[in-house]
């Protein structure tokens, strides 16, 4: 029962955030200069006829209703999976976003996994006497890394590996000439399913730089927080007890210590996740990676309001799902955590 009640409360606050964000986005999209109906009507010989057409278009787009009604209609529609029709592509927004979503997840998921693994690992040398040099190195990197965002890493990678050494491709997801049938949209899965294994190598080569740029930045944040929470955990009495019992330092650090230190790190990861999504927008643009971030930038350029709103709602949903996953991980890591 405790978990359900906890979930209900979390869902409540997540929904509140969802409404605040989408309402603000909705209002912003309405104050965008340029009347979409005006753009779509085209010209007619007769001004009166033109005006009739224009009014019809406004009614069709729902722009003649008051703004709160427009929002409620939009809200009702997205709960039935209908995100509206893109002005620019003239196709439903939902499928358009779903088509690009895998590419974004292909960047975000490896980044989270790698950054968590490496960041946590880098925070452990502090507790092994012979590894003091590694801790110094990691902390130095972490301090410098704070000031080097994914943006700067990305540019340096492009210059060094993409242009000077010319060993890694700087744009897209696959080499030219590799055609892959679209089954799930995830390249690795698709190439396994269709037996086109050469696509995997090409894809990984394209993936290295964008993921590395995002990961290196995330690592520094995770390392900082996990190291400081390890420092306080390792002072606890139960760790002293473990030492007295003669457990190996390895066991103490990796099993006893980390398990307890990970809680604040996970909390940070939840907050940090939106930073990672921000980063993916920029990195997608930088590496011409066809995800929803790149789609958003072009939607803004073309004033494609339904598409902009759909992408914003998608980002909200991604954040909500991620926070839900992180919340349920807490209980796995520390069974004493009760959801109250």
């Amino acid at each position: 029962m405790g978990f359900l009640a906890y979930l209900a409360r979390r869902a409540g606050s997540a929904l509140l955030s969802f409404f605040i964000i989408t309402i603000i986005a909705f209002i912003l999209c309405r104050v965008v200069p340029g009347d979409p109906a005006l753009l779509m009507v085209g010209s007619a010989v007769n001004p009166e006829e033109w005006f009739k057409e224009y009014q019809k278009m406004r009614a069709l787009l729902g722009l003649d209703r008051p703004i709160y009604e427009q929002y409620l209609i939009w809200l009702r529609d997205i709960f039935t999976g209908n995100f509206g029709v893109s002005y620019r592509f003239n196709v439903p927004v939902g499928p358009l976003i779903l088509e690009r979503l895998p590419a974004t997840l292909e960047l975000v998921i490896p980044t989270v996994v790698l950054a968590l693994l490496i960041g946590v690992l880098l925070s452990t040398p502090k507790f092994f006497r012979r590894m003091a040099w590694a801790d110094k190195l990691a902390s130095g990197f972490s301090f410098l890394g704070m000031s080097i965002s994914y943006f700067i890493w990305g540019i340096f990678f492009i210059i060094i590996f993409g242009v000077s050494l010319n060993v890694l491709p700087i744009s897209g997801r696959l080499d030219m000439g590799i055609e892959l049938p679209r089954i799930t949209g995830f390249i690795i899965i698709d190439s396994l399913l269709s037996g086109r294994f050469e696509a995997i190598g090409s894809f990984l080569k394209h993936l290295i730089m964008p993921v590395a740029a995002l990961t290196l930045y995330e690592i520094t944040l995770i390392h900082r927080i996990n190291r400081s929470s390890m420092l306080s955990v390792m002072k606890e009495d139960y760790i002293l007890m473990d030492k007295a019992k003669g457990l190996s330092q390895f066991h103490i650090v990796f099993v006893r210590g980390l398990r307890n230190a990970l809680i604040p790190t996970l909390t940070l990861l939840g907050v940090q996740f939106t930073v990672l999504l921000s980063g993916s927008v920029i990195i997608e643009k930088m590496f011409a990676w066809p995800g929803i971030g790149k789609l958003l930038v072009s939607a803004v350029t073309y004033r494609d309001l339904p598409l902009i709103q759909g992408i914003i709602a998608t980002y909200c949903i991604i954040v909500i799902i991620t926070n839900f996953i992180i919340d349920s991980l807490y209980g796995k890591i520390n069974p004493r955590i009760k959801y109250v």
Binding site: G279, L296, V300, I320
Partner: protein, 285 residues
């Protein structure tokens, strides 16, 4: 207070390092036209892609030129102007909105607190770059709109930190005493609360300067930041990336300029935090 702060900064290595660099950047921004004789916007196609000194360039263009033959040193130092103006305006804007929100939420509690918390939670649960892109789309691509966008997005940084701080201060004896003496809320806030959160405000403000500079770079990079007619570090990077295969220096210099100032501001922020944290500091007491 100011004198004490400066003395404290001089006594902390990180803070001193950061403060010195910031000061140098400000001086460069102010005297930009004296540092480089070239107009940052004037093109000279006969002298495009000139390399910097050390890579075959001459001291006529110490950092070389870009694809349109514009002097990079001149562009770099003139960019410092708009970037620092954006940084200081945006951080000030965020502070002006965020500080009162944080103080009122923390001091009054109740409904005000709940509203501020709901807003900061909502802000925290959404990618800021996406938010900024939509704001700029609505407002238009102009540098002043970037200032507005950063203010609208980052006021929560001030509000969150200060709200937490004020919660603590509110329970302190001197506030309780002031209350029993019958002082008005306004008087207590201005005479007891604000002086005590001032050091924290300074730390958040310093970090916000760095954030604003990197936001300028990101947003100009995607073409939704400073208008292309104005030279800024972000615009230099955006343009340079379009001919990155031909030459790299037009991109590298603005990137380094951004990296160094953000490093300096982070060091200053960290140093200030050490100074004002009562557990590590004796200077300010």
């Amino acid at each position: 207070m100011l004198w004490l702060m400066l003395r404290a900064i001089a006594g902390n290595h990180r803070a001193l390092f950061g403060f010195t660099i910031l000061l140098i950047y400000i001086i460069i921004a102010i005297f930009a036209p004296l540092i480089s004789a070239y107009d940052p916007l004037s093109t000279d196609m006969d002298h495009a892609y000139l390399p910097p000194v050390g890579l075959g360039g001459t001291f006529e263009h110490p950092l070389g030129t870009d694809g349109l033959g514009r002097d990079l040193l001149s562009r770099l130092v003139h960019s410092a102007r708009i970037d620092l103006i954006i940084a200081f305006l945006a951080a000030t804007g965020a502070a002006i909105v965020g500080i009162p929100a944080g103080i009122l939420a923390g001091y009054l509690g109740g409904k005000v607190n709940r509203v501020v918390q709901a807003l900061t939670d909502a802000w925290l649960s959404f990618p800021h770059v996406v938010f900024a892109i939509v704001l700029i789309a609505a407002l238009g691509v102009r540098w002043i709109n970037l200032v507005i966008a950063i203010t609208v997005i980052d006021w929560t940084r001030f509000a969150r930190v200060i709200r937490g701080e004020v919660f603590g201060i509110r329970e302190k004896e001197f506030v309780k005493v002031a209350e029993t003496m019958g002082l008005s809320n306004l008087l207590i806030i201005t005479s007891e609360v604000i002086p005590n959160v001032l050091p924290t405000i300074l730390v958040v403000y310093t970090l916000e300067l760095g954030i604003a500079i990197s936001v300028e770079a990101l947003m100009s990079f995607v073409g939704l930041g400073v208008e292309p007619a104005i030279v800024s570090w972000g615009n230099m990077i955006a343009e340079g990336m379009s001919y990155i295969r031909t030459c790299w220096w037009p991109v590298v210099f603005p990137v380094l300029a951004i990296m160094i100032i953000i490093l300096a501001l982070n060091a200053l922020g960290d140093g200030l935090r050490e100074i004002v944290d009562p557990r590590t500091s004796r200077v300010l007491r």
